[in-house]
Amino acid sequence: MQLLRRLMPRKGLHSTKFFAWVLIAPAAAYMCLIVAWPLVETIRLSFTNSGLGIEDYVGFANYEKLLSSRKFPDTIGRTFYWMFLSVGLKLILGLIGASLLAANLKGKAAFRVLVMPPWIVPIAIGCIGWLWLYNGHFGILSGVLQNLGIIDGPFEFLAYKNSAFYSAIVTDVWIGTPMITIFLLAAIQNVPRDLYEAAYIDGASRWYRFRRITMPQIMPMFASMALLSAIWTFNSFEIIWILTEGGPRGGTTTLIVDTYKTAIANYKYGQGATRAVLIVAILAVFSLLYLWLVNKVNKKYGDEK
């Protein structure tokens, strides 16, 4: 306390401000180093033709090239479709899983542990497992479908645009669902039991209680998870890269995969930076949407009501 008093400003507002700046300086410097500087450098690179051994400023040429590319609109559309479909499935399955795990069953602790592995197993290991499952000639999925007579020969899931895309979605959902399940389970467990008891006494059905008590009560968490999951899924790289590397013929290339291919695989750092800037812009809009929506949800269902 003595030390604090000694450090505290003695003369007027000017010193107070200075002291405040001294206090936040380490955090500000840290943020500048790990966030601001890379961001500014990425924006700067996006206006250059930076590549192997060259770097000249080219103005908006990279942006013009990207926006006039015949593949770019497909990539954007595919990225949003990938995000909405995957997040939608993760939320539905996560909600179902959380509801089932919240039920007062014998051995529920064991079930809660069993739901975790896809989340805990390193993504690369999980994806390699899925690669084997999707293999048409040696994989179990193709084998089972053949044995059941559904297909009459091997089927390579990753060889065609649509099947590769939906296969990647399945893997992404498999990896992403447990986390949402656990978070929603925590939210469900926080719903006051007396609400259910009162509704039960009033004769409310199980579905009615879920719809009118559980959902409104967990809605703030649900909205938060939806938007966080959307951001993570938008930037989901390793699953697609390990399964298909964005192929066949760009059929699973999302914006983040396209950025990697351009900047790292093809050494076009300037053009890659342009894509990265675009991702930042899109995710910034999402973040604003996130804050706005969570605020709305909290007002409607949360404590502020």
Binding site: L52, G53, E156, L158, A159, E245
Partner: protein
């Protein structure tokens, strides 16, 4: 006592300053492929013995990341001294002043197989010492051909190839041919084997004019469309090593592979190896593909690195590597280098050596990664039935203009 100690310290300092400064040179050598072969190690050991002031820091890196590593280090201003990598990278590195041209004596030039030096030359200079070479041929599982009721004789033309593959598919239900269609370098390489067997080309090395958009390329792509019906399911999920696995399991009757194929197939399989069948507009050909040792610019010891690279690729050292590894001979060893080279009077090697003269080089592009992307996209477009061969070839040719 204190004075004595001070004097001793000063004296020791002066002696250390006066001692002759021996500046050791450390060469950082990146070897793509994940291993340093015994033949290369032998040369490096001799080089070190002859140059006691030099050390060589060998780093064997798998192919998947190796070239990216060497190129990115060079671009970041921290180049390796020398690297063994695909010759297709040389033009891009040369254009960006990241590697230095190499001097190959006239005598050495004359010792190489025809076409080899084209794979490392650009703007009238050589940019690497060719160090590994392969040609390709068609491997046929005779058991499956005979099961289909055909004699096991290699097809000479594309029509013969298709008919043989179709007979296998129709009569045994097994894929007649293996097609590589994954977004991988050997998908493009396989296509070039067919393209060069049909008189086609990608770029005119002299004029730098893109020549891909030709009837020969369209015919080659149409062949892919036709072979699709008799190939393994889902070629766009396969690259060559995966097809080799199918071939070994008796799930594919024929596929194109390099000379190392003989040692990679299951023991006991009855396999014949024949030249790549000729297309309607050409004669049997092959892709001439080399890997080279490049010397990087800006290390301060380019001359020493050059000396080591030259030693590794010189006559007998190179022969040791080719013969022990089982590669197509990169030099004409029979012309005064070795008495009885391993491929002489050998029917297996004849299939890989004879087409060298009619083969075409791996095209030299400034942006070789984009070349691969465009060619693979063209191939996949055909395999997925997304467009006509004419359109796909025209699109790829247009894209290549930007990358040459």
């Amino acid at each position: 006592m204190k004075k004595l100690l001070t004097a001793a310290a000063v004296g020791a300092g002066i002696i250390m300053m006066m001692a002759p400064v021996v500046q050791a040179e450390e060469l950082h050598f990146v070897m793509c492929g994940g291993e340093v072969r015994e033949a290369d190690q032998k040369v490096i050991d001799t080089f070190l013995a002859n140059n006691p002031d030099v050390t060589v820091n060998m780093e064997a890196v798998p192919w998947g990341t190796c070239q990216d590593k060497s190129m990115t280090l060079a671009a970041a201003g921290d180049p390796v001294s020398l690297a063994y990598m695909g010759s297709r990278t040389l033009k891009q590195l040369a254009q960006n002043d990241l590697i230095v041209p190499v001097e190959i004596s006239e005598e050495e030039q004359a010792s190489y197989q025809p076409g080899i030096l084209n794979t490392v030359s650009s703007d009238g200079k050589y940019w690497g010492f060719p160090h590994a070479f392969s040609t390709k041929a068609l491997f046929i599982n005779c058991q499956l051909i005979e099961d289909a009721g055909l004699p096991c004789v290699g097809p000479k033309t594309w029509t013969g190839l298709y008919n043989m593959a179709k007979a296998v598919k129709d009569n045994t239900g097994i894929a007649g041919i293996g097609l590589a269609g994954k977004d991988f370098d050997n998908t493009m390489h396989q296509f070039f084997n067919y393209l060069y067997s049909n008189g086609g080309s990608v770029i005119n090395a002299d004029t730098n004019e893109i020549t891909l958009n030709s009837p020969q390329t369209v015919e080659t792509l149409e062949l892919y469309g036709k072979l699709l019906d008799v190939a393994q399911e889902g070629p766009t999920a396969f690259e060559r090593s995966q097809i080799k696995a199918l071939f070994n399991d008796g799930k594919v009757a024929m596929y194109i592979q390099g000379p190392w194929g003989r040692g990679a197939h299951k023991a006991g399989m009855k396999v014949i190896t024949v030249p790549v069948p000729a297309g309607p507009s050409g004669v049997s050909g092959t892709l001439l593909i080399t890997d080279s040792i490049a010397v990087f610019n800006g290390t301060g010891h380019e001359d020493t690195a050059m000396e080591l690279a030259r030693a590794l690729s010189s006559g007998e050292a190179q022969y040791d590597l080719d013969s022990s590894w089982g590669l197509t001979p990169i030099k004409q060893y029979e012309n005064g280098i070795v008495d009885k080279p391993y491929y002489e009077n050998d029917d297996y090697w004849k299939v890989f050596v004879d087409p060298i003269g009619s083969g075409g080089p791996e095209p030299m592009f400034v942006d070789f990664k984009s070349l691969q992307t465009s060619i693979n996209s063209m191939i996949q477009g055909m395999l997925l039935g997304e467009d006509s061969a004419e359109n796909l070839v025209a699109i790829a040719a247009e894209e290549l203009e930007e990358f040459k």
